[in-house]
Protein backbone atom coordinates (compact mmCIF):
# COMPACT_ATOMS: atom_id res chain seq x y z
CA UNK A 1 0.00 0.00 0.00
CA UNK A 2 1.36 3.47 -0.91
CA UNK A 3 1.16 6.69 1.09
CA UNK A 4 2.46 10.23 1.00
CA UNK A 5 3.62 11.55 4.36
CA UNK A 6 5.12 14.88 5.33
CA UNK A 7 8.31 14.94 7.43
CA UNK A 8 6.16 16.18 10.29
CA UNK A 9 3.97 13.10 10.01
CA UNK A 10 7.02 10.86 9.63
CA UNK A 11 8.42 12.26 12.86
CA UNK A 12 5.16 11.45 14.63
CA UNK A 13 5.48 7.88 13.32
CA UNK A 14 9.11 7.78 14.52
CA UNK A 15 7.91 8.91 17.96
CA UNK A 16 5.41 6.05 18.06
CA UNK A 17 8.08 3.57 16.99
CA UNK A 18 10.81 4.69 19.40
CA UNK A 19 9.52 2.58 22.30
CA UNK A 20 9.83 -0.62 20.30
CA UNK A 21 12.53 0.21 17.75
CA UNK A 22 15.93 1.78 17.41
CA UNK A 23 15.84 3.62 14.09
CA UNK A 24 19.16 3.50 12.24
CA UNK A 25 19.93 5.45 9.09
CA UNK A 26 22.79 7.11 7.21
CA UNK A 27 23.52 10.41 8.91
CA UNK A 28 25.80 13.27 7.92
CA UNK A 29 28.49 14.31 10.40
CA UNK A 30 29.53 17.79 9.28
CA UNK A 31 33.26 18.48 9.31
CA UNK A 32 34.08 14.95 10.48
CA UNK A 33 35.48 13.78 7.13
CA UNK A 34 39.11 12.77 6.71
CA UNK A 35 40.10 15.96 4.90
CA UNK A 36 39.47 19.48 6.22
CA UNK A 37 35.97 20.82 5.66
CA UNK A 38 34.65 17.46 4.51
CA UNK A 39 31.78 15.52 6.04
CA UNK A 40 31.34 11.85 6.77
CA UNK A 41 28.11 9.93 6.23
CA UNK A 42 27.69 6.84 8.35
CA UNK A 43 25.03 4.86 10.16
CA UNK A 44 23.70 6.16 13.45
CA UNK A 45 20.54 6.14 15.51
CA UNK A 46 18.07 8.84 14.44
CA UNK A 47 14.97 10.25 16.06
CA UNK A 48 13.93 12.76 13.33
CA UNK A 49 13.63 12.10 9.61
CA UNK A 50 15.55 15.33 8.89
CA UNK A 51 18.67 13.66 10.34
CA UNK A 52 18.68 11.08 7.56
CA UNK A 53 20.95 11.70 4.58
CA UNK A 54 18.82 10.73 1.57
CA UNK A 55 20.71 12.63 -1.14
CA UNK A 56 24.16 11.02 -0.95
CA UNK A 57 25.48 7.50 -0.59
CA UNK A 58 26.84 6.83 2.88
CA UNK A 59 30.62 6.48 3.18
CA UNK A 60 30.23 3.44 5.39
CA UNK A 61 27.87 0.48 4.96
CA UNK A 62 24.77 -0.62 6.86
CA UNK A 63 26.53 -3.80 8.10
CA UNK A 64 27.97 -1.76 10.98
CA UNK A 65 24.57 -1.77 12.71
CA UNK A 66 24.48 -5.57 12.91
CA UNK A 67 28.19 -6.30 13.26
CA UNK A 68 29.76 -3.21 14.82
CA UNK A 69 33.43 -2.34 14.24
CA UNK A 70 34.00 -3.39 17.82
CA UNK A 71 31.78 -5.29 20.26
CA UNK A 72 32.13 -7.15 23.55
CA UNK A 73 31.57 -10.90 23.49
CA UNK A 74 32.20 -11.81 27.12
CA UNK A 75 32.87 -9.95 30.35
CA UNK A 76 35.32 -11.53 32.78
CA UNK A 77 35.31 -10.95 36.51
CA UNK A 78 37.92 -12.94 38.38
CA UNK A 79 36.98 -16.60 37.62
CA UNK A 80 33.54 -15.87 36.24
CA UNK A 81 32.42 -14.74 32.84
CA UNK A 82 29.18 -13.82 31.14
CA UNK A 83 27.98 -13.02 27.65
CA UNK A 84 27.44 -9.44 26.59
CA UNK A 85 23.83 -8.40 26.10
CA UNK A 86 22.29 -7.02 22.93
CA UNK A 87 19.88 -4.11 22.71
CA UNK A 88 16.40 -5.13 23.82
CA UNK A 89 14.77 -3.13 21.02
CA UNK A 90 14.10 -4.13 17.43
CA UNK A 91 16.06 -2.43 14.67
CA UNK A 92 14.53 -0.41 11.85
CA UNK A 93 17.32 0.25 9.35
CA UNK A 94 17.20 2.53 6.31
CA UNK A 95 19.25 0.97 3.48
CA UNK A 96 19.74 1.31 -0.25
CA UNK A 97 19.30 -1.86 -2.38
CA UNK A 98 23.08 -2.51 -2.46
CA UNK A 99 23.21 -2.62 1.34
CA UNK A 100 20.10 -4.81 1.49
CA UNK A 101 21.70 -7.29 -0.92
CA UNK A 102 24.92 -7.21 1.10
CA UNK A 103 23.04 -8.61 4.10
CA UNK A 104 22.69 -11.92 2.21
CA UNK A 105 26.49 -12.20 2.15
CA UNK A 106 26.72 -11.33 5.83
CA UNK A 107 24.15 -14.01 6.64
CA UNK A 108 25.97 -16.57 4.51
CA UNK A 109 29.16 -16.17 6.54
CA UNK A 110 27.79 -15.47 10.01
CA UNK A 111 24.82 -17.84 10.01
CA UNK A 112 25.56 -20.61 7.50
CA UNK A 113 29.26 -21.11 6.80
CA UNK A 114 30.48 -24.45 8.15
CA UNK A 115 27.04 -25.15 9.64
CA UNK A 116 27.75 -22.79 12.55
CA UNK A 117 25.51 -19.81 13.37
CA UNK A 118 27.16 -16.93 15.21
CA UNK A 119 24.97 -15.91 18.12
CA UNK A 120 26.19 -12.30 18.22
CA UNK A 121 25.15 -11.71 14.62
CA UNK A 122 22.01 -13.83 14.81
CA UNK A 123 20.53 -11.99 17.79
CA UNK A 124 20.88 -8.68 15.93
CA UNK A 125 19.74 -10.04 12.56
CA UNK A 126 16.51 -11.36 14.04
CA UNK A 127 15.57 -7.85 15.16
CA UNK A 128 15.96 -6.18 11.78
CA UNK A 129 13.20 -4.59 9.71
CA UNK A 130 14.40 -2.89 6.56
CA UNK A 131 13.29 0.45 5.16
CA UNK A 132 14.54 0.61 1.59
CA UNK A 133 15.73 3.97 0.34
CA UNK A 134 14.81 4.21 -3.35
CA UNK A 135 17.99 4.64 -5.40
CA UNK A 136 17.61 5.43 -9.10
CA UNK A 137 20.61 7.62 -9.98
CA UNK A 138 23.70 6.15 -8.31
CA UNK A 139 27.15 7.77 -8.13
CA UNK A 140 30.31 7.66 -10.18
CA UNK A 141 31.82 4.66 -8.36
CA UNK A 142 28.62 2.55 -8.35
CA UNK A 143 28.28 -0.66 -10.40
CA UNK A 144 25.39 -2.38 -8.64
CA UNK A 145 23.62 -3.19 -11.93
CA UNK A 146 26.63 -5.26 -13.06
CA UNK A 147 26.55 -7.17 -9.77
CA UNK A 148 22.78 -7.74 -9.92
CA UNK A 149 22.27 -5.94 -6.63
CA UNK A 150 20.47 -2.83 -7.89
CA UNK A 151 17.10 -4.31 -6.89
CA UNK A 152 15.67 -5.63 -3.65
CA UNK A 153 12.23 -6.69 -2.56
CA UNK A 154 12.86 -7.96 0.96
CA UNK A 155 11.92 -4.75 2.73
CA UNK A 156 9.18 -3.86 5.21
CA UNK A 157 8.80 -0.34 3.89
CA UNK A 158 10.27 1.44 0.86
CA UNK A 159 10.64 5.22 0.72
CA UNK A 160 11.19 7.84 -1.96
CA UNK A 161 12.52 11.04 -0.44
CA UNK A 162 10.99 14.28 -1.70
CA UNK A 163 11.22 17.85 -0.46
CA UNK A 164 9.84 17.70 3.06
CA UNK A 165 7.95 14.50 2.40
CA UNK A 166 8.32 10.77 1.85
CA UNK A 167 6.37 8.56 -0.49
CA UNK A 168 6.21 5.11 1.05
CA UNK A 169 5.33 1.58 0.06
CA UNK A 170 4.32 -0.42 3.12
CA UNK A 171 4.84 -4.13 2.47
CA UNK A 172 4.90 -5.35 6.05
CA UNK A 173 1.30 -5.11 7.26
CA UNK A 174 2.48 -4.68 10.84
CA UNK A 175 3.47 -1.11 9.95
CA UNK A 176 0.24 -0.26 8.07
CA UNK A 177 -1.65 1.09 11.13
CA UNK A 178 1.01 3.82 11.48
CA UNK A 179 -0.08 5.25 8.15
CA UNK A 180 -3.87 5.07 8.61
CA UNK A 181 -4.23 8.85 8.57
CA UNK A 182 -1.87 9.37 5.62
CA UNK A 183 -2.99 10.07 2.07
CA UNK A 184 -3.04 6.92 -0.05
CA UNK A 185 -1.17 7.00 -3.37
CA UNK A 186 -0.10 4.54 -6.01
CA UNK A 187 3.59 3.90 -5.36
CA UNK A 188 6.11 1.21 -6.08
CA UNK A 189 9.82 2.02 -5.75
CA UNK A 190 11.95 2.21 -8.86
CA UNK A 191 15.50 0.94 -9.28
CA UNK A 192 18.55 2.12 -11.15
CA UNK A 193 18.86 0.26 -14.48
CA UNK A 194 22.24 1.55 -15.72
CA UNK A 195 25.36 2.79 -13.88
CA UNK A 196 28.06 4.98 -15.37
CA UNK A 197 30.37 1.99 -14.88
CA UNK A 198 29.58 -1.35 -16.45
CA UNK A 199 31.70 -4.24 -15.23
CA UNK A 200 32.03 -7.72 -16.65
CA UNK A 201 33.37 -10.20 -14.12
CA UNK A 202 35.81 -12.59 -15.83
CA UNK A 203 35.43 -16.35 -15.42
CA UNK A 204 38.44 -18.23 -14.10
CA UNK A 205 38.02 -21.56 -15.90
CA UNK A 206 40.18 -23.87 -13.75
CA UNK A 207 42.70 -24.19 -10.92
CA UNK A 208 45.70 -23.98 -13.26
CA UNK A 209 44.59 -20.57 -14.54
CA UNK A 210 43.82 -19.47 -10.98
CA UNK A 211 47.31 -20.50 -9.82
CA UNK A 212 48.93 -18.64 -12.72
CA UNK A 213 46.78 -15.59 -12.08
CA UNK A 214 47.97 -15.49 -8.47
CA UNK A 215 51.56 -15.04 -9.59
CA UNK A 216 50.75 -12.79 -12.57
CA UNK A 217 52.81 -9.55 -12.65
CA UNK A 218 49.60 -7.45 -12.72
CA UNK A 219 49.52 -7.52 -8.92
CA UNK A 220 52.98 -5.91 -8.55
CA UNK A 221 51.45 -2.49 -9.27
CA UNK A 222 49.77 -2.62 -5.86
CA UNK A 223 53.11 -2.92 -4.07
CA UNK A 224 53.67 0.65 -5.18
CA UNK A 225 50.13 1.98 -4.87
CA UNK A 226 48.42 0.18 -2.00
CA UNK A 227 49.45 1.41 1.45
CA UNK A 228 47.67 -1.49 3.24
CA UNK A 229 45.49 0.86 5.28
CA UNK A 230 42.37 -1.31 5.15
CA UNK A 231 40.05 1.59 4.25
CA UNK A 232 38.52 -0.52 1.46
CA UNK A 233 37.49 -3.40 3.69
CA UNK A 234 36.09 -1.21 6.46
CA UNK A 235 33.97 0.56 3.84
CA UNK A 236 33.00 -2.72 2.16
CA UNK A 237 29.32 -3.69 2.36
CA UNK A 238 30.11 -7.40 2.46
CA UNK A 239 33.45 -7.91 4.28
CA UNK A 240 33.02 -9.81 7.55
CA UNK A 241 36.51 -10.60 8.92
CA UNK A 242 37.31 -9.95 12.54
CA UNK A 243 39.86 -10.44 15.31
CA UNK A 244 39.11 -11.67 18.79
CA UNK A 245 41.15 -10.08 21.54
CA UNK A 246 41.03 -10.07 25.30
CA UNK A 247 41.59 -6.90 27.25
CA UNK A 248 42.20 -6.21 30.91
CA UNK A 249 40.77 -3.02 32.36
CA UNK A 250 43.61 -0.78 33.45
CA UNK A 251 41.99 0.25 36.71
CA UNK A 252 41.25 -3.30 37.84
CA UNK A 253 43.23 -6.21 36.47
CA UNK A 254 40.75 -8.74 37.89
CA UNK A 255 38.24 -7.57 35.32
CA UNK A 256 38.34 -7.66 31.54
CA UNK A 257 36.54 -8.64 28.40
CA UNK A 258 36.81 -10.61 25.17
CA UNK A 259 36.16 -8.33 22.19
CA UNK A 260 35.47 -8.81 18.51
CA UNK A 261 36.96 -6.14 16.28
CA UNK A 262 36.72 -5.74 12.52
CA UNK A 263 39.88 -7.05 10.83
CA UNK A 264 41.23 -6.42 7.35
CA UNK A 265 43.06 -8.86 5.09
CA UNK A 266 44.76 -5.76 3.64
CA UNK A 267 46.56 -4.86 6.83
CA UNK A 268 49.90 -6.46 7.72
CA UNK A 269 49.57 -9.07 10.42
CA UNK A 270 46.30 -10.61 9.21
CA UNK A 271 47.99 -13.99 8.67
CA UNK A 272 50.67 -13.76 11.40
CA UNK A 273 50.91 -16.84 13.59
CA UNK A 274 52.48 -17.23 17.00
CA UNK A 275 56.02 -18.33 16.30
CA UNK A 276 56.46 -15.81 13.51
CA UNK A 277 55.13 -17.44 10.36
CA UNK A 278 53.52 -14.99 7.92
CA UNK A 279 51.64 -16.05 4.78
CA UNK A 280 51.08 -12.81 2.82
CA UNK A 281 53.90 -10.34 3.28
CA UNK A 282 53.34 -7.88 0.45
CA UNK A 283 50.59 -5.39 -0.40
CA UNK A 284 50.31 -7.05 -3.83
CA UNK A 285 49.62 -10.47 -2.30
CA UNK A 286 47.04 -9.00 0.04
CA UNK A 287 45.31 -7.10 -2.78
CA UNK A 288 45.25 -10.26 -4.90
CA UNK A 289 43.73 -12.18 -1.95
CA UNK A 290 40.96 -9.61 -1.49
CA UNK A 291 40.09 -9.22 -5.18
CA UNK A 292 39.99 -12.98 -5.77
CA UNK A 293 37.79 -13.46 -2.70
CA UNK A 294 35.34 -10.85 -3.97
CA UNK A 295 35.25 -12.00 -7.60
CA UNK A 296 36.04 -15.72 -7.49
CA UNK A 297 36.56 -17.55 -4.18
CA UNK A 298 33.30 -16.64 -2.45
CA UNK A 299 31.20 -17.68 -5.44
CA UNK A 300 33.28 -20.85 -5.87
CA UNK A 301 32.27 -21.78 -2.31
CA UNK A 302 28.66 -20.66 -2.07
CA UNK A 303 27.72 -20.89 -5.78
CA UNK A 304 25.21 -18.03 -5.67
CA UNK A 305 26.72 -14.55 -6.07
CA UNK A 306 30.06 -12.81 -6.09
CA UNK A 307 30.99 -11.22 -2.75
CA UNK A 308 30.46 -7.69 -4.04
CA UNK A 309 27.33 -5.62 -4.45
CA UNK A 310 28.94 -2.88 -6.53
CA UNK A 311 28.45 -0.14 -3.94
CA UNK A 312 31.81 1.35 -4.96
CA UNK A 313 32.63 2.43 -1.41
CA UNK A 314 36.08 0.76 -1.55
CA UNK A 315 36.98 2.87 -4.58
CA UNK A 316 35.57 6.03 -2.97
CA UNK A 317 37.46 5.50 0.28
CA UNK A 318 40.85 4.49 -1.13
CA UNK A 319 43.35 7.25 -0.33
CA UNK A 320 45.52 6.02 -3.22
CA UNK A 321 42.69 6.18 -5.79
CA UNK A 322 42.75 2.46 -6.52
CA UNK A 323 39.57 1.61 -8.40
CA UNK A 324 38.12 -1.84 -7.84
CA UNK A 325 36.49 -1.87 -11.27
CA UNK A 326 39.75 -0.94 -13.00
CA UNK A 327 41.44 -3.72 -11.01
CA UNK A 328 38.87 -6.29 -12.12
CA UNK A 329 39.31 -5.16 -15.74
CA UNK A 330 43.09 -5.65 -15.38
CA UNK A 331 42.43 -9.09 -13.94
CA UNK A 332 40.20 -9.94 -16.93
CA UNK A 333 43.03 -8.97 -19.26
CA UNK A 334 45.53 -11.08 -17.29
CA UNK A 335 43.18 -14.10 -17.44
CA UNK A 336 42.84 -13.68 -21.22
CA UNK A 337 46.65 -13.58 -21.50
CA UNK A 338 47.04 -16.75 -19.41
CA UNK A 339 44.42 -18.63 -21.42
CA UNK A 340 45.95 -17.49 -24.72
CA UNK A 341 49.40 -18.61 -23.51
CA UNK A 342 48.01 -22.02 -22.50
CA UNK A 343 46.34 -22.68 -25.85
CA UNK A 344 49.55 -21.99 -27.78
Amino acid sequence: MGYKVSFEEVNKIFDQLQGEYEIWAPKRFAGKGRYSDTDIIKYDKVSKVEEIEFKEKSDYPAKEVLSPITQSLFYFTEDEFRESKATSKKLLIFMRPCDINAQHHQEKIYLENGGYADMYYQRMNEKVKIVMIECTEGWDTCFCVSMGSNKADDYAIAVRAGEGELTVDVKDEAFAPLFKEAAGVDFKPEFIEKNEIELTIPEIPNKEVLTKLKSHPMWNEYNKRCISCGSCTVACSTCTCFNTTDVIYNENTNVGERKRTTASCQIEGFTDMAGGHVFRRTAAERMRYKVLHKFHDYKARFKDFHMCVGCGRCTSRCPEFISITATVNKMAKAIDEIIAEESK
Binding site: F76, D118, M119, T244, A263, F279, L292
Partner: protein
Protein backbone atom coordinates in the same frame (compact mmCIF):
# COMPACT_ATOMS: atom_id res chain seq x y z
CA UNK B 1 20.47 -19.15 21.52
CA UNK B 2 23.52 -21.40 21.40
CA UNK B 3 26.77 -19.44 21.62
CA UNK B 4 29.34 -21.30 19.53
CA UNK B 5 32.30 -19.25 20.77
CA UNK B 6 31.52 -19.74 24.47
CA UNK B 7 34.30 -21.79 26.09
CA UNK B 8 34.01 -24.25 28.97
CA UNK B 9 36.38 -24.09 31.97
CA UNK B 10 38.40 -27.32 32.35
CA UNK B 11 40.82 -28.36 35.03
CA UNK B 12 44.47 -29.14 34.25
CA UNK B 13 45.24 -32.65 35.54
CA UNK B 14 48.94 -32.89 34.76
CA UNK B 15 51.74 -30.95 33.07
CA UNK B 16 54.59 -32.83 31.47
CA UNK B 17 57.73 -31.11 30.25
CA UNK B 18 58.53 -32.57 26.82
CA UNK B 19 61.40 -30.27 25.91
CA UNK B 20 62.67 -26.83 26.81
CA UNK B 21 59.89 -25.10 24.87
CA UNK B 22 57.17 -27.75 24.72
CA UNK B 23 54.94 -28.93 27.54
CA UNK B 24 52.04 -31.36 27.40
CA UNK B 25 48.95 -30.30 29.35
CA UNK B 26 46.51 -33.04 30.31
CA UNK B 27 43.11 -31.41 30.73
CA UNK B 28 39.93 -32.85 32.21
CA UNK B 29 37.26 -32.92 29.49
CA UNK B 30 34.51 -35.12 28.09
CA UNK B 31 35.01 -33.76 24.59
CA UNK B 32 35.76 -36.65 22.22
CA UNK B 33 37.90 -35.34 19.39
CA UNK B 34 38.86 -37.24 16.24
CA UNK B 35 42.55 -37.90 15.50
CA UNK B 36 44.00 -34.69 14.01
CA UNK B 37 41.29 -32.28 15.20
CA UNK B 38 42.00 -29.14 17.22
CA UNK B 39 40.36 -27.08 19.96
CA UNK B 40 40.34 -23.40 20.86
CA UNK B 41 42.15 -22.94 24.18
CA UNK B 42 41.84 -19.72 26.08
CA UNK B 43 42.65 -17.89 29.22
CA UNK B 44 40.20 -15.11 30.02
CA UNK B 45 41.74 -11.63 29.76
CA UNK B 46 44.71 -13.04 27.79
CA UNK B 47 43.24 -14.59 24.66
CA UNK B 48 42.42 -17.65 22.60
CA UNK B 49 44.52 -19.92 20.36
CA UNK B 50 43.93 -23.04 18.24
CA UNK B 51 45.85 -26.06 19.57
CA UNK B 52 45.81 -29.58 18.13
CA UNK B 53 44.98 -32.61 20.23
CA UNK B 54 48.08 -34.71 20.88
CA UNK B 55 46.27 -37.52 22.73
CA UNK B 56 42.92 -38.21 24.39
CA UNK B 57 41.21 -40.79 26.50
CA UNK B 58 38.26 -41.23 28.84
CA UNK B 59 37.68 -37.85 30.45
CA UNK B 60 40.91 -36.20 29.33
CA UNK B 61 42.64 -34.51 26.39
CA UNK B 62 46.37 -33.81 25.91
CA UNK B 63 47.62 -30.64 24.28
CA UNK B 64 51.31 -30.38 23.47
CA UNK B 65 52.04 -26.69 23.42
CA UNK B 66 55.03 -24.65 22.36
CA UNK B 67 55.45 -21.42 24.24
CA UNK B 68 55.65 -18.95 21.38
CA UNK B 69 52.87 -16.43 21.85
CA UNK B 70 50.83 -14.41 24.31
CA UNK B 71 48.31 -17.15 25.07
CA UNK B 72 50.73 -20.09 25.13
CA UNK B 73 53.18 -18.15 27.31
CA UNK B 74 50.40 -17.65 29.85
CA UNK B 75 49.32 -21.30 29.63
CA UNK B 76 52.89 -22.21 30.61
CA UNK B 77 52.43 -20.46 33.96
CA UNK B 78 49.55 -22.84 34.79
CA UNK B 79 49.82 -26.09 36.70
CA UNK B 80 47.65 -28.98 37.92
CA UNK B 81 44.40 -27.71 39.42
CA UNK B 82 44.44 -24.50 37.38
CA UNK B 83 41.81 -23.93 34.74
CA UNK B 84 41.99 -23.65 30.95
CA UNK B 85 38.98 -22.68 28.83
CA UNK B 86 38.14 -25.00 25.92
CA UNK B 87 35.80 -25.09 22.95
CA UNK B 88 35.71 -27.58 20.09
CA UNK B 89 36.76 -30.00 18.79
CA UNK B 90 36.99 -28.44 15.33
CA UNK B 91 37.93 -29.31 11.78
CA UNK B 92 38.43 -32.52 9.86
CA UNK B 93 41.03 -34.91 11.23
CA UNK B 94 42.98 -37.77 9.65
CA UNK B 95 40.96 -40.17 7.47
CA UNK B 96 41.91 -43.02 9.81
CA UNK B 97 39.39 -45.45 8.29
CA UNK B 98 41.12 -44.99 4.92
CA UNK B 99 44.40 -46.15 6.50
CA UNK B 100 42.97 -49.48 7.69
CA UNK B 101 44.73 -52.49 6.18
CA UNK B 102 47.36 -50.35 4.49
CA UNK B 103 51.03 -49.50 4.87
CA UNK B 104 51.14 -46.05 6.49
CA UNK B 105 54.10 -43.71 6.18
CA UNK B 106 54.11 -40.80 8.66
CA UNK B 107 56.61 -37.98 8.13
CA UNK B 108 56.81 -35.17 10.70
CA UNK B 109 58.92 -32.12 11.39
CA UNK B 110 59.30 -30.70 14.92
CA UNK B 111 56.07 -30.36 16.91
CA UNK B 112 54.27 -31.62 13.80
CA UNK B 113 54.48 -34.91 15.66
CA UNK B 114 51.81 -33.71 18.12
CA UNK B 115 48.78 -33.85 15.76
CA UNK B 116 49.66 -37.42 14.67
CA UNK B 117 50.60 -38.74 18.12
CA UNK B 118 47.15 -40.06 19.04
CA UNK B 119 46.84 -41.79 15.67
CA UNK B 120 50.31 -43.35 16.00
CA UNK B 121 49.37 -44.67 19.43
CA UNK B 122 46.22 -46.19 17.97
CA UNK B 123 48.34 -47.92 15.30
CA UNK B 124 50.74 -49.09 18.03
CA UNK B 125 47.97 -50.43 20.26
CA UNK B 126 46.17 -52.11 17.37
CA UNK B 127 48.97 -53.71 15.32
CA UNK B 128 46.48 -55.42 12.99
CA UNK B 129 44.83 -52.14 12.03
CA UNK B 130 47.58 -51.29 9.53
CA UNK B 131 49.83 -53.51 7.42
CA UNK B 132 52.87 -51.55 8.62
CA UNK B 133 53.83 -48.12 9.93
CA UNK B 134 56.93 -46.23 8.84
CA UNK B 135 57.71 -43.12 10.90
CA UNK B 136 60.18 -40.49 9.72
CA UNK B 137 60.43 -37.81 12.36
CA UNK B 138 62.85 -34.91 12.54
CA UNK B 139 63.70 -32.21 15.04
CA UNK B 140 65.93 -29.19 14.76
CA UNK B 141 68.11 -30.29 17.66
CA UNK B 142 68.17 -32.50 20.73
CA UNK B 143 66.52 -29.78 22.81
CA UNK B 144 63.47 -29.92 20.55
CA UNK B 145 62.72 -33.65 20.87
CA UNK B 146 59.23 -34.34 22.21
CA UNK B 147 57.44 -37.55 23.28
CA UNK B 148 60.78 -39.22 24.09
CA UNK B 149 59.18 -42.28 25.77
CA UNK B 150 56.81 -42.87 22.90
CA UNK B 151 59.56 -42.46 20.30
CA UNK B 152 61.39 -45.30 22.05
CA UNK B 153 58.24 -47.41 22.34
CA UNK B 154 57.24 -46.95 18.70
CA UNK B 155 60.57 -48.41 17.57
CA UNK B 156 59.24 -51.86 18.62
CA UNK B 157 56.47 -51.97 16.07
CA UNK B 158 57.19 -49.24 13.51
CA UNK B 159 60.01 -48.83 11.01
CA UNK B 160 61.56 -45.62 12.26
CA UNK B 161 63.91 -42.95 10.96
CA UNK B 162 64.61 -40.41 13.71
CA UNK B 163 66.79 -37.48 12.74
CA UNK B 164 68.14 -34.13 13.94
CA UNK B 165 68.65 -31.37 11.35
CA UNK B 166 72.31 -30.66 12.06
CA UNK B 167 73.23 -32.17 15.42
CA UNK B 168 74.70 -35.57 16.09
CA UNK B 169 73.05 -37.83 18.68
CA UNK B 170 73.61 -41.46 19.44
CA UNK B 171 71.02 -43.71 17.82
CA UNK B 172 69.75 -40.80 15.71
CA UNK B 173 70.42 -39.78 12.13
CA UNK B 174 71.57 -36.33 11.07
CA UNK B 175 69.84 -34.47 8.23
CA UNK B 176 66.42 -33.23 7.13
CA UNK B 177 63.47 -35.66 6.96
CA UNK B 178 63.44 -35.19 3.18
CA UNK B 179 66.68 -37.18 2.98
CA UNK B 180 64.96 -40.29 4.36
CA UNK B 181 61.95 -40.37 2.06
CA UNK B 182 63.79 -42.45 -0.54
CA UNK B 183 64.80 -44.95 2.18
CA UNK B 184 61.19 -46.01 2.71
CA UNK B 185 60.48 -49.47 1.30
CA UNK B 186 57.97 -48.10 -1.23
CA UNK B 187 58.45 -51.07 -3.62
CA UNK B 188 57.09 -53.57 -1.09
CA UNK B 189 53.90 -51.51 -0.52
CA UNK B 190 52.58 -51.99 -4.06
CA UNK B 191 49.61 -49.69 -4.32
CA UNK B 192 48.42 -50.33 -0.78
CA UNK B 193 49.71 -47.35 1.22
CA UNK B 194 49.00 -43.79 2.41
CA UNK B 195 51.38 -41.00 3.45
CA UNK B 196 50.93 -38.42 6.21
CA UNK B 197 53.07 -35.26 6.29
CA UNK B 198 52.97 -32.65 9.09
CA UNK B 199 55.39 -29.90 9.97
CA UNK B 200 56.36 -26.34 9.11
CA UNK B 201 55.18 -25.18 5.64
CA UNK B 202 58.59 -25.49 3.87
CA UNK B 203 59.13 -28.96 5.35
CA UNK B 204 55.73 -30.12 4.05
CA UNK B 205 56.37 -28.64 0.63
CA UNK B 206 59.77 -30.27 0.11
CA UNK B 207 58.70 -33.57 1.66
CA UNK B 208 55.77 -33.62 -0.78
CA UNK B 209 58.20 -33.09 -3.67
CA UNK B 210 60.46 -35.90 -2.40
CA UNK B 211 57.47 -38.26 -2.16
CA UNK B 212 56.59 -37.35 -5.75
CA UNK B 213 60.12 -38.32 -6.82
CA UNK B 214 59.58 -41.73 -5.19
CA UNK B 215 56.46 -42.19 -7.31
CA UNK B 216 53.90 -41.39 -4.62
CA UNK B 217 50.76 -40.00 -6.29
CA UNK B 218 49.24 -36.83 -4.78
CA UNK B 219 46.02 -38.58 -3.78
CA UNK B 220 47.93 -40.83 -1.34
CA UNK B 221 49.40 -37.87 0.57
CA UNK B 222 47.67 -36.22 3.54
CA UNK B 223 48.87 -33.01 5.18
CA UNK B 224 47.77 -30.89 8.15
CA UNK B 225 47.84 -27.10 7.81
CA UNK B 226 48.24 -24.50 10.52
CA UNK B 227 46.89 -21.02 9.97
CA UNK B 228 46.04 -18.04 12.09
CA UNK B 229 42.50 -18.45 13.43
CA UNK B 230 40.35 -16.19 15.51
CA UNK B 231 37.10 -18.18 15.64
CA UNK B 232 37.63 -21.76 14.33
CA UNK B 233 34.03 -21.79 13.04
CA UNK B 234 34.31 -20.17 9.60
CA UNK B 235 33.47 -16.58 10.54
CA UNK B 236 36.66 -14.60 11.20
CA UNK B 237 38.22 -15.19 7.77
CA UNK B 238 41.86 -15.46 8.85
CA UNK B 239 42.45 -19.09 7.82
CA UNK B 240 40.69 -18.91 4.45
CA UNK B 241 42.68 -19.92 1.35
CA UNK B 242 40.69 -19.59 -1.90
CA UNK B 243 37.24 -21.11 -1.28
CA UNK B 244 38.53 -23.25 1.57
CA UNK B 245 38.48 -22.56 5.31
CA UNK B 246 41.29 -24.42 7.08
CA UNK B 247 39.19 -24.51 10.29
CA UNK B 248 36.24 -26.17 8.51
CA UNK B 249 37.58 -28.28 5.62
CA UNK B 250 41.01 -28.72 7.24
CA UNK B 251 43.32 -28.81 9.04
CA UNK B 252 43.85 -32.16 7.29
CA UNK B 253 43.77 -32.01 3.51
CA UNK B 254 44.49 -34.44 0.74
CA UNK B 255 47.48 -33.21 -1.26
CA UNK B 256 45.47 -33.07 -4.51
CA UNK B 257 43.60 -30.19 -2.87
CA UNK B 258 46.38 -28.80 -0.69
CA UNK B 259 48.85 -28.29 -3.54
CA UNK B 260 46.51 -25.70 -5.10
CA UNK B 261 45.98 -23.85 -1.83
CA UNK B 262 48.24 -20.86 -2.35
CA UNK B 263 47.68 -18.36 0.48
Amino acid sequence: MNNIVKPVPCKILEVKKESKLEYTFKVESDIKPAHGQFLQLSIPKIGEAPISVSAYGDGWIDFTIRSVGKVTDEIFTKGPGDVLFLRGAYGKGWPVEKFEGKHVVVITGGTGLAPVRSMLNKFYDEPDYTKSVTLITGFKNEEGIVFKNELEKWKDRFTTFYTLDAEKKEGWNTGFVTEFVSKVDWASFGDNYEVVIVGPPPMMKFTGIECGKCGVPDEKIWVSYERRMSCAVGKCGHCRIDEVYVCLEGPVFNYTQAKYLVD
